[in-house]
């Protein structure tokens, strides 16, 4: 009976979570009008792909630059609206489009037939070749795709290059990573033998890193798969038409080759000139700020919700108990990463204005609550029944007994475990970077793309995380010591 109740509660919970999905695509074409009404064009991109899109620091502020960004600017200007750039993982871009987190995606994206099934594309605005980046010392070994056998080739997950390597280099392994910077680190450290990427990007990397070299591996590419196009939600014909108009004008004036690429190149050389880490301390400071905000707010709400869940689980109310058990088991049984994405893309599909930071905090709080609830339950159960009996025999009600006898003793017992949860959250919150929240992890990736340095930002980030968690554990230890005196 008991387990049956838990199952029913679990099913209800899942159904509640799935309801939002039904509403994802409920629109005929009012897209262009909507953008004009709100006065802002929100464009998604994965800003680690110079010269298409990348970040620079201008007078202390991070800004997005590159040829795609210039096109987006022109497009927004033609529409008479402001431009807002949302930076996220390449993998997440199409989902963001489908769930209306962004109005358009411009990210050096190839309009492949597979992608065309889920989104609509504008005309191609730029056509580059598919290249490969290799270590200079291997230049004699690798000439084209046929020189590789039983090697490991890196490519960005979800990219055209990934598919090309997989299909045309069958004797080799593909290593997919979300960020190009990580792939280049992998190349330099010999984890992969080559990285497949788009021509302009490959050339940019080689230009900024003298140990790398570009080759044209002669992939067999049909022309529909090469060029880059803007992506829009399925059925957003009004936006596609408007974009095609802008693109036609850009091509007529040859703006990409005359203006956009040279401008991007200038930014890139500037970046590599001042790529000492000291120039980027504001990035790390911003990251620390976000990481602490997310952690503190999530600890607060996670604790409150955790107490409620623990009391529900210990209560005599069978429905409440079943709901609490189902919630705890479900949340503990799914990865935080999936939960973060679900809250942002799933719940965010209903509440469209849900910002990434808020989505991240909600997901981390909800996740933490499940763990806190179990810690609190174990704390309450660690108090001998004699304590409750003594209190009840004096006439204290159940709630007074909890408040004055059980909870104070339980809190003291679970303090170390709660502190542990707090420390874990500082580290786990790094997962919110996948939906583009500017936490420390995310800032690290920005610094990597801005400086073309892979390992040093990772090391600095690691040290910062350690300083934060170690400092916190000292503070918690101090309070634990004080509680012992009581």
């Amino acid at each position: 009976m008991k387990s049956k109740k838990i199952w029913i509660a679990l099913v209800i919970l899942i159904m509640m979570l799935l309801v939002p999905l039904g509403k994802v695509s409920a629109s005929n074409d009012g897209y262009l009008q909507k953008v004009k009404d709100k006065g802002t064009l929100v464009v998604g991109t994965s800003a680690d792909y110079p010269p298409y899109e990348f970040t620079v620091k201008q007078s202390g502020k991070t800004s997005y630059v590159g040829l795609d960004i210039e096109i987006a600017k022109k497009f927004a200007k033609d529409l008479g609206v402001k431009l807002e750039i949302k930076n996220m993982n390449f993998d997440s871009l199409l989902v963001a489009l489908e769930t209306h987190k962004v109005d358009a995606v411009i990210s050096g994206m190839n309009p492949t037939p597979e992608r065309q099934k889920s989104v609509d594309f504008s005309n191609v605005y730029y056509r580059g070749q598919q290249y490969m980046l290799i270590n200079k010392k291997d230049a004699a070994l690798y000439k084209n795709i046929h020189s590789f056998k039983n090697k490991t080739i890196g490519a960005q997950t979800g990219s055209l290059q990934y598919d090309l390597v997989k299909k045309q280099m069958k004797n080799n392994q593909v290593k997919g990573l979300a960020k190009l910077n990580d792939l280049v680190i992998a190349l330099e450290s010999g984890k992969v033998n080559a990285v497949a990427m788009e021509e302009a990007t490959a050339k940019a990397f080689a230009q900024n890193n003298s140990s790398l070299k570009v080759i044209n591996p002669e992939f067999n590419v049909n022309s529909s798969q090469t060029g880059s196009a803007m992506a829009f939600p399925k059925g957003a014909t009004s936006l596609v038409k408007a974009a095609d108009k802008t693109i036609a004008e850009i091509q007529k004036k040859n703006l990409i080759n005359k203006q956009y690429i040279p401008l991007a190149g200038k930014y890139m050389t500037n970046n590599s000139k001042k790529n000492s880490m000291w120039n980027y301390w504001t990035y790390f400071a911003k990251g620390i700020e976000y990481t602490l905000i997310i952690t503190v707010v999530s600890v607060f709400f996670g604790f409150i919700l955790g107490v409620i869940l623990a009391l529900l689980r210990l209560s005599k109310n069978k429905l409440g108990k079943a709901v609490a058990v189902a919630y705890i088991e479900f949340v503990r049984g799914t990865p935080l990463m999936v939960q973060v994405m679900f809250v942002y893309f799933g719940v965010g599909a209903v509440i469209q204005s849900l910002p990434a930071l808020l989505a991240g905090i909600i997901a981390v709080s909800l996740n933490s609550a499940a763990y806190v609830a179990e810690v609190i339950r174990s704390g309450i159960e660690s108090i001998p029944t004699g304590q409750t009996e003594a209190a009840r025999s004096l006439g204290l009600s159940q709630s007074l007994t909890y408040r004055y006898v059980v909870i104070p003793q339980a809190l003291k017992n679970i303090w170390p475990a709660l502190g542990n949860e707090f420390i874990t959250l500082i580290k786990e919150s790094s997962i919110v970077s996948i939906i583009g929240v500017g936490d420390l992890m995310y800032q690290m990736q920005l610094v990597q793309s801005a400086t073309y340095k892979g390992v040093i930002p990772i090391f600095i980030t690691m040290v910062i995380y350690f300083v934060m968690t170690f400092g916190l554990s000292k503070v918690l230890g101090y309070f634990e010591g004080r509680m012992k005196h009581a």
Partner: protein, 244 residues
């Protein structure tokens, strides 16, 4: 003397194990009753049924006219205020000092004024001989001292009856005396008391009635002089021959 507690056809089972089998007895106001018997005879369960720390499986406990087995949680809390209980393992609250242990229930349940509660707690600690330990924490006291604090804590609610569940069984021998002394003083002041105990000397000296329990029944009862000098049942004879 009016009836304080009437026990009618009380039964208690834990699963298939029937611990109490149809007990019907009366406790009169001012009586001191010592419940004795071998381990596992159901003495403690019997006592814990009287203030419904254990819910009886059948029967009634009528305390001053109200049936405790069939009332709301709120009413039960009210009635428990009037029945003090002292446990074998003291069960003081380790997160509070001695005086806070004693005044917690008057403050939070009876809503007594702080000043009055402190004064009353001070008196009670004086009465059990621990006025100088008021600010200490329970775990820094000896077992005998802790048990005397527990008695003071129970008395702070001005109960009409006191239940003692083997109050000296967890104590070192040299500390038994100080606790029994406090209990004897209490009995002499006219408190109605039900004491589950193995202290035969105390039972002889203080009890008005001895209830001898075995196998879930009260097998025999009588005044201490009758019972100890001349037990009627073979079970009581056997029990006394083992311990005396």
């Amino acid at each position: 003397m009016p009836n304080m507690i009437e026990i009618k056809n009380l039964e208690k089972s834990f699963g298939d194990n029937q611990v109490l089998k149809n007990i019907t007895e009366v406790v009169k106001k001012g009586q001191v009753i010592c419940v004795i018997g071998p381990s596992g005879s159901g003495k403690s369960t019997f006592l814990r049924c009287l203030n419904v720390l254990e819910q009886p499986s059948a029967g009634q406990i009528i305390f001053e006219g109200q049936d405790l087995t069939n009332i709301s949680e709120i009413e039960l809390n009210k009635l428990r205020e009037r029945m003090g209980m002292v446990f074998q393992s003291f069960n003081l609250f380790p997160n509070m000092n001695v005086i806070d242990n004693v005044k917690l229930a008057p403050l939070k349940v009876k809503k007594t004024m702080e000043k009055e509660a402190i004064q009353k707690a001070g008196q009670l600690l004086e009465q059990v001989g621990l006025a100088d330990k008021a600010e200490q924490f329970p775990l820094s006291l000896s077992g005998g001292q802790q048990q005397r604090v527990a008695i003071a804590r129970a008395l702070a609610m001005n109960p009409e009856v006191m239940l003692f569940d083997e109050p000296t069984s967890a104590l070192d021998p040299e500390m038994v005396g100080e606790v029994l002394k406090v209990m004897q003083d209490l009995a002499e002041s006219g408190m109605t008391m039900i004491v589950v105990t193995h202290e035969m000397g105390f039972a002889k000296k203080v009890a008005d009635q001895i209830w001898f329990m075995d196998e879930g029944y009260i097998q025999e009862k009588g005044t201490p002089s009758e019972f100890f000098a001349n037990p009627k049942t073979s079970r009581a004879k056997e029990f006394l021959s083992k311990i005396l």
